[in-house]
Symmetry: C3
Subunit: 342 residues, 3 copies
């Protein structure tokens, strides 16, 4: 069905890689080492899968020079096979068609500006003063609220909502169900009830960011919530108002950052990890999955909290003891003093 195809030699030339073996072999897709057929490209990056190399039926394998000897088929040698594979595989991705123009079922406000080369899908709603730049693709049911801007070549896959005062940079990719620019959670307690603080800021998202499915990013209370360029957010992440995320930081699914926290550049936030409000994380900080950051972190490095998984019966005994840990520490000190006095 696919009409995309390249020779091994052609791929080598295109990406500056060294080809080994049958350069004329035609490749029309990609697959795993275990599953790829003779017209498909595969890769070996993680040594865990080395044993699969000898038996692969792939047409060509992207690998390190050290693995070339055991490769039974054509190869493309790369210093970082995973990066090389990412670029190669992109050639074989079939993206859904997105014709330029505005679908007749879309509703576009009079003062909105939509570039003629942009694609606005069925059911999209574009508010007053919104700007949709060239090459943008809005999939079905996207809502671009008042005073929002979507930068050139950005793609909102489907059913994305930009509430208001959201600015996306260029080549931003947003997955279905994401909500950007919703009200920050700002409340003042007066005597016996809550009063809502209006959320008057916006959200600024830098170039080349990716925002996962059902992720939420609130707009700022006064200043903006900010994602610098190349920030990568997985699914179901929560970014509260006035958070600032540094460039190239990546967060795994279900991570959450509370209000006004400031995350550095090149950070890695693990799945379901949390960062409390008003904290600062330095550049190149890694937080492991499900950890809770309760104080600012000034030094790069890896940080964790939590306790290990155990069989429930063992765990119950240990967990019950945790409630007395302070007492145990005191009793230990007492014993040591007694021992010294003997």
């Amino acid at each position: 069905m696919s009409t995309i195809h390249y020779t091994v030699a052609g791929l080598a030339e295109r990406f500056g890689l060294v080809a080994s073996g049958d350069g004329a072999r035609v490749i029309d897709g990609v697959g795993t080492l275990a599953g790829a057929g003779p017209s498909q490209l595969s890769f070996l990056s993680n040594s865990k899968y080395s044993s699969q190399l000898a038996a692969t039926r792939a047409g060509v394998v992207v690998l390190r020079e050290a693995d070339l000897a055991t490769c039974p088929t054509a190869a493309l040698v790369a210093s970082d096979p995973y990066v090389a594979y990412a670029k190669l595989a992109a050639l074989f991705e079939r993206m859904p068609a997105a014709a330029a123009g505005i679908h007749p079922s879309a509703v576009v406000a009079d003062s909105a500006q939509v570039d003629p080369g942009a694609s606005v899908g069925p059911g999209c709603v574009i508010g007053e003063r919104a700007v949709i730049a060239e090459g943008v693709v809005l999939g079905p049911h996207c809502i671009v609220g008042e005073d929002c801007t979507v930068g050139a070549h950005s793609r909102l896959v489907a059913r994305v909502t930009l509430v208001t005062r959201v600015t996306l940079g260029q080549r931003v990719l947003v997955h279905p169900g994401a909500v950007i620019g919703s009200d920050g959670f700002g409340l003042a307690f007066e005597r016996d009830h809550w009063i809502k603080l209006p959320q008057l800021g916006g959200v600024r998202v830098g170039d080349d960011c990716e925002i996962g499915a059902n992720t939420t990013i609130d707009r700022g209370a006064l200043d903006d919530t900010v994602l610098e360029e190349d920030v990568r957010l997985d699914n179901q992440i929560q970014i509260a108002h006035n958070v600032h995320v540094g460039a190239h930081t990546a967060m795994a699914g279900c991570a959450a950052v509370a209000g006004s926290a400031r995350i550095g550049r090149y950070c890695m936030i693990g799945g379901n990890a949390g960062v409390l409000g008003h904290l600062e994380l330095a550049d190149r900080v890694t937080i492991t999955a499900k950890s809770l950051v309760t104080h600012s972190i000034r030094e790069p490095g890896e940080y964790s909290s939590g306790v290990p998984l155990q069989d429930n019966r063992q765990w119950r005994k240990n967990a019950a003891r945790f409630k007395h840990l302070d007492e145990y520490a005191r009793r230990l000190s007492t014993l040591e003093k007694d021992s010294d006095n003997e």
Copy 2:
């Protein structure tokens, strides 16, 4: 208002239960032991509610034989009253009407196949080469992307998005806001920035699965993400790319499974529990709420992590001590050695 009604004797016959008391009593609905009236059916399964039985005003109660003596009204005796009640109660559910045919506001691609008996609601968007089988109900605003298939008698309640290459089996139930087939979170780091890995696989969902509101299931990078049959996912669950979930496994709200993990059959994953990537869980593994699975589990059983809730002041003292647990263990060993040498 309801016109659904059955006699107690009729219900007994229909489900092979033993009726006790007034078999001619007419039942037109269900309710709790405390709230049900004389034309309603109730049930007693959890012994915690036994004390409510004597005072119930229900028309008939589904219960174990052992509870029959204290039941003041008609009864239906079942070995598992909860299972029997589930089947009985289904008789009284009024589902929203879903007329066969395609709503005029829906947008259906030319190459899509929609069975004439399927119901396609307002605002639905169906992409190229999608297949909608007989008896399917697509509620309002569902998006069925390119190359997706929805199996017979499946129901997408409302505002469900199948992105691309998603195959749902028969009788699958998907709740609003769920996103299935979104891009897996695959990134390669090149020098100073991220490169996205195309996500070329799909998602396969088996027969009789249920997928909760705002749950997200990413499609595979190369192979498919798979849910076998009768998998039950609650709301806001995150299933990453290439995860494989065995048949009859159930996960409670906000659970998350990272990429390429393989969960066995008949597992129970508690609320907000997490499973790290590339791990394997055997069949019949139970993970308690908020636990993090950091290593593969080979044996069935119940597993936990975390520490118990305490008054914040007590907790602070114990938590501070946790940071020195390794030191305490060493000091304990030293004391023991000293004690032995005396």
Copy 3:
């Protein structure tokens, strides 16, 4: 661009505050102490920002009397500057226009009642017997299912789904992606597979509640799920079936409450905290972020679980020791006995 403006004296009179300095100064917006210009209002509530007061260029600052001496500009004196600011700032919020009437692209069932003063946005779908009261605003793509009621002056910002049997009170604010009234997660296990329990109840939401983006609230199995008045839920919160949340309780992002739990009034549930099913929390209970509540709480106060974040290397050592905590406690007791016997 803004045409909203007030004098400092006018603001003082409107909210019963004492003005100090230039009462004739015209204010047309709000800003932070660091960012506000001479026509903007700012505030000082958190003493952390006191140092910014002397240098502010704001036109007027809302502050406590004690801070008046160091304020370089006009001031509005309030006993609680944060509450006063919340009310003042609301004057300067520009809400998106919402014209009364039903957008031509909306689909409204014959038996639905929509008040002529309500605003029904593009793509909305309103089911049989639904009621939309006066002053309600339904933003784009909202779905109001069968037998749902939206009370006067409530606002569903965009893409909100009320599934069925949901009743919202007056002035309820619901953010995009929220799903209210989805099926509770009720399953009975029969021999080798799951049977679904029909979810026959509804959801009742009191006046002045706020429900965050992508939050999910399931409807009850038999009785209703209930939020009393002035409950404030942040984004991505999960409320399971038959939960009851007392008035004025607030929950931060990603909190989750399991089935049939009963939360008191004036509780504060921290981000990503969890409450297990069937538990009861008294009034005025605070749960800190990421804690798991595993037993009922009878006394007001603050409660926590979890262990502190550490450098990963230190944490690994301590976490490994946790698996032996019960053994350590026993060894400690043994040493103490030995020591007593000497």
